[in-house]
C-alpha cells in the first residue's frame, strides 16, 4: 500500500512520542541506578507518571471526543481507593506478599472499577450536550467525593467489612478506608517501572484508538454530531467508548497514585484536581497527545524546582487557561499570530523539502494544535 503524506506524518508523530517517553525512562532509570538523581525528583517520578496518564486520558475525552469532562479526578479517586483496598485485602486476607503481583492486580482492579463507574455515569451524562455535560460531570465528581467521604471498609475474621455513613465497623477490624480520614495504612508498593509501563499502555491504547475506525467515529462525532449520525455512526456508543476508556485509564493511574503513599484522602481528588489536569491538556494542546505528556511532566516538575512558581501556580494556571483559549480561538488574534510565525513556517517548509520526514512531523504538530478552533457552527 502506498503511504500517504498524512499517514506518514501520523506514524512519525507516534514514533516521536514513544521515543521521547522511552528515552526519558532510560535516562532517569540510569540516574537512579547511578544514584545521581535528586531526592525530590525521585519522589516525583511516580506522580509524574500518574499525571501523564491522567492528562492523556482526559485529552481523549476533551480533545478527541470534544466533550468537557470536569470530573476526571473522581475516576482517579475511585481507582486510588479500589487499589488501596484490593492491595490491603490481598495482604490481610490472602497473605499475598509479592508486591509486583499485588500492584498489577490493584491497578487492574482500579481500572475496572473506574470503568464501571464511568459507564454508569456515562449512560446518563453522554445524552447531554456541551455545557450541561460539563456541569454534570462536575456534579458526579463531587458526588463520588461525598460518597467516599462516608465510606468505611476494613478486614478482620477472614472477611471484608464495609459500611456507608457513620455506622461503626465491629471491634478489632483492621481499617482500610476510614471515612474522611481516607484510605489508611497503605503499604507503598508503586514503582517507577510500573508507572512507565502504564504510560506505554496508555499511549498505545489512545494513539491506536485515535487512528482506527472507532477513533475516526469519535472525531466525526466531535466535529459534527448530526452529520456523523446521518452517516450511520452510533454517536452515543462512540462517545461512551472514549469516556469509559478514559475512566479506565484514570482509574489505573489512581491506583498507582494511591499505592505510592501511605494514605489517600478524599480532599486529594477535588474539583481543583480535575482542573489541574485540564490545564495540562489545554496547555499541551487539545487533541495533541504528545503535548499532554510534555505539559503534564513540566507542570508537575516546575513547582518542585521553582518555589516562586509553586506559590503562584494556580494563578498562572488560570491565566494560561484564559490566554491559550483566546489565542487559539479568536480569529483576529489568530491571524496576527499566524502572520508573526509565517517566516518560521516557511523555514520549516523549506527544511521539509530536504528532510520530508521531519517536516511532516512538524506540520502535524502545528496542525493538531490548529485543528481545535472552528468547531462552532
Amino acid at each position: 500500500m502506498k503511504m500517504t503524506r498524512a499517514k506518514r506524518s501520523k506514524i512519525i508523530y507516534n514514533i516521536v512520542t514513544f521515543a521521547l517517553v522511552i528515552g526519558a525512562f532510560f535516562i532517569l532509570q540510569s540516574m537512579i541506578d547511578a544514584k545521581t538523581i535528586s531526592r525530590s525528583l525521585k519522589g516525583q517520578l511516580v506522580p509524574i507518571c500518574c499525571w501523564i496518564v491522567m492528562a492523556v486520558s482526559l485529552n481523549l475525552v476533551i480533545g478527541i471526543s470534544g466533550e468537557l469532562s470536569l470530573g476526571h479526578a473522581g475516576f482517579m479517586s475511585v481507582g486510588a481507593y479500589t487499589g488501596a483496598v484490593i492491595s490491603g485485602v490481598l495482604v490481610n486476607l490472602y497473605g499475598v506478599q509479592d508486591t509486583t503481583l499485588r500492584l498489577v492486580i490493584a491497578i487492574a482492579a482500579g481500572g475496572v472499577m473506574a470503568g464501571i463507574v464511568g459507564a454508569l455515569i456515562g449512560i446518563p451524562v453522554l445524552r447531554l450536550r456541551g455545557d450541561y455535560l460539563a456541569i454534570v460531570t462536575l456534579a458526579f465528581g463531587e458526588i463520588i467525593r461525598n460518597l467516599v467521604n462516608v465510606l468505611y471498609i476494613g478486614t478482620g475474621d477472614g472477611r471484608v467489612y464495609s459500611s456507608i455513613l457513620n455506622k461503626k465497623l465491629p471491634e478489632g477490624v483492621t481499617m482500610l478506608v476510614d471515612g474522611a480520614k481516607g484510605a489508611v495504612k497503605i503499604k507503598p508498593i508503586s514503582t517507577f517501572m510500573a508507572g512507565f509501563i502504564l504510560i506505554l499502555i496508555t499511549l498505545v491504547v489512545v494513539l491506536n484508538l485515535v487512528n482506527s475506525r472507532a477513533g475516526r467515529a469519535i472525531k466525526a462525532t466531535r466535529d459534527n454530531r448530526i452529520a456523523a449520525e446521518s452517516m450511520g455512526v452510533n454517536v452515543t456508543k462512540y462517545k461512551m467508548m472514549a469516556f469509559v476508556t478514559a475512566a479506565v485509564l484514570a482509574g489505573m493511574a489512581g491506583a498507582l497514585y494511591g499505592l505510592n503513599s501511605s494514605t489517600v484522602v478524599p480532599t486529594q481528588f477535588t474539583f481543583n484536581q480535575s482542573i489541574n489536569v485540564l490545564v495540562f491538556v489545554v496547555l499541551g494542546g487539545l487533541g495533541n497527545i504528545l503535548g499532554s505528556v510534555i505539559s503534564a511532566t513540566a507542570l508537575t516538575v516546575l513547582p518542585e524546582v521553582l518555589r516562586a512558581f509553586a506559590d503562584y501556580r494556580m494563578l498562572v494556571y488560570a491565566v494560561v487557561l484564559i490566554l491559550v483559549m483566546i489565542f487559539t480561538n479568536n480569529p483576529t488574534i489568530r491571524a496576527i499570530t499566524s502572520r508573526l510565525f509565517a517566516p518560521l513556517k516557511s523555514f520549516f517548509r523549506r527544511a521539509a523539502k530536504y528532510a520530508p520526514a521531519v517536516g511532516g512531523a512538524v506540520k502535524e504538530l502545528g496542525g493538531e494544535e490548529e485543528g481545535e478552533e472552528q468547531k462552532h457552527e
Binding site: 485540564l278 494563578l315 488560570a318 479568536n330
Partner: protein, 292 residues
C-alpha cells in the same frame, strides 16, 4: 417545629441561590454561555462589603452599594476582556476560559485577602432575631427572602417594559436578527453582565450575613449550586431561576436534616442530574431545537 425551622432556613438559602441563579440564567439566556466565574464575583462582592464595613467604616447600605459598584465593573471587565474575543468560538473554549476566570478571581482574592477565613461583621441584616412563639427567625432570613422577591419583580418588569429589557429578549431569541434590527449586541451583553454581577454582590452580602465565614472559595460551591438551580428552573427563565433556587435550597436543607449532613451536596447534585435526564429544559424552560 423543627420542620418549620428547616423550611424557613431552606427558603432563606434558596433565596440566595435564586438571586445568584438570576445572574447565571440571564447570561446563559443572552450570551449563551455558562459564566463559571459568576460564583467568584459573589465572593469578591462579599470581600468588598467586608472591607467597607470593617476597615473603611462605611455604613452597611453604602457598603452594599460599594460592593455592587465594584462587582458591576468587574463583571463588565471580565466580559469585555475574556469573553468578548470568544463570541464566535466553540462553547468548549468559552467554558474553559470561564473556568480560568473563576480561578483567576479566587487566586487573586487569595493574594489580596489571604487564605484565613474572615468573619463577616454584624449589620442590620443579621443583627436581630425575631421570636414568633417557639420559632426564632434571624432578620437575615427575612431580609433575604424579601430581597429575592423584590429583585425578581424588578427584573421581570425590567425585561418586559424597558427598551434595554426588550433588547435583551431579542438578543436571547436570535442574536443575528437582533443585530440586523440595529440592536447593539455587545452593549446588551455588557448590560446583562452588569446586572448579573450587581445581583451577585447583593447575594454575596446576604450569603455572608447568614453564613458569616468569608474566604476565597466562598463563592464557588454556592455558584455551582445556583447554576444547578438555574438549570432546575429552566435556563433563561427569570421565574424559573427563582423557583429552582428556592426549591433547591429547601431540598438541600431537608436533605441535610433528614438524610445525611455529609451527603448534602451530593443530594443537590443528584437533583441536577435527575432534572437534566427527565426534563432537560427545566421546570419552566423552553425546549430548543437544533437547526439542521
Amino acid at each position: 417545629m423543627i420542620f418549620l425551622d428547616n423550611l424557613i432556613n431552606g427558603l432563606s438559602l434558596g433565596s440566595i441561590y435564586a438571586i445568584i441563579a438570576l445572574g447565571y440564567t440571564m447570561v446563559y439566556g443572552i450570551a449563551k454561555m455558562l459564566n463559571f466565574a459568576h460564583g467568584d464575583v459573589i465572593m469578591v462582592g462579599a470581600y468588598i462589603a467586608f472591607c467597607a464595613l470593617q476597615y473603611w467604616g462605611f455604613p452597611p447600605v453604602l457598603a452594599i452599594v460599594a460592593a455592587m459598584a465594584v462587582c458591576t465593573a468587574l463583571g463588565v471587565t471580565i466580559e469585555g476582556l475574556a469573553y468578548r474575543p470568544l463570541r464566535q468560538a466553540a462553547s468548549l473554549a468559552v467554558l474553559i476560559t470561564a473556568i480560568g476566570m473563576s480561578y483567576l478571581l479566587q487566586n487573586t482574592a487569595l493574594m489580596i485577602w489571604g487564605a484565613n477565613p474572615k468573619s463577616f461583621p454584624r449589620t442590620f441584616i443579621n443583627g436581630t432575631t425575631l421570636r414568633i412563639g417557639q420559632l426564632s427567625v434571624s432578620s437575615a432570613t427575612i431580609i433575604t427572602i424579601l430581597a429575592n422577591i423584590v429583585i425578581m419583580i424588578a427584573l421581570t418588569l425590567f425585561t418586559a417594559k424597558t427598551k434595554m429589557g426588550k433588547a435583551m429578549r431579542c438578543v436571547s431569541e436570535d442574536r443575528g436578527a437582533a443585530e440586523l434590527m440595529g440592536i447593539n449586541v455587545n452593549r446588551t451583553i455588557s448590560v446583562t453582565f452588569a446586572i448579573g454581577s450587581a445581583l451577585a454582590a447583593i447575594a454575596g452580602v446576604l450569603l455572608c450575613s447568614s453564613y458569616p465565614i468569608l474566604q476565597p472559595t466562598t463563592g464557588s460551591m454556592p455558584g455551582i449550586k445556583a447554576f444547578t438551580a438555574a438549570v432546575f428552573g429552566g435556563i433563561g427563565s427569570i421565574p424559573g431561576a427563582m423557583l429552582g433556587g428556592v426549591l433547591l435550597g429547601v431540598i438541600e436543607i431537608f436533605g441535610k436534616a433528614y438524610i445525611s449532613t455529609e451527603l448534602g451536596d451530593a443530594i443537590v447534585f443528584a437533583v441536577l442530574i435527575v432534572v437534566l435526564l427527565v426534563k432537560p429544559s427545566g421546570l419552566l424552560g423552553k425546549q430548543i431545537r437544533e437547526k439542521v
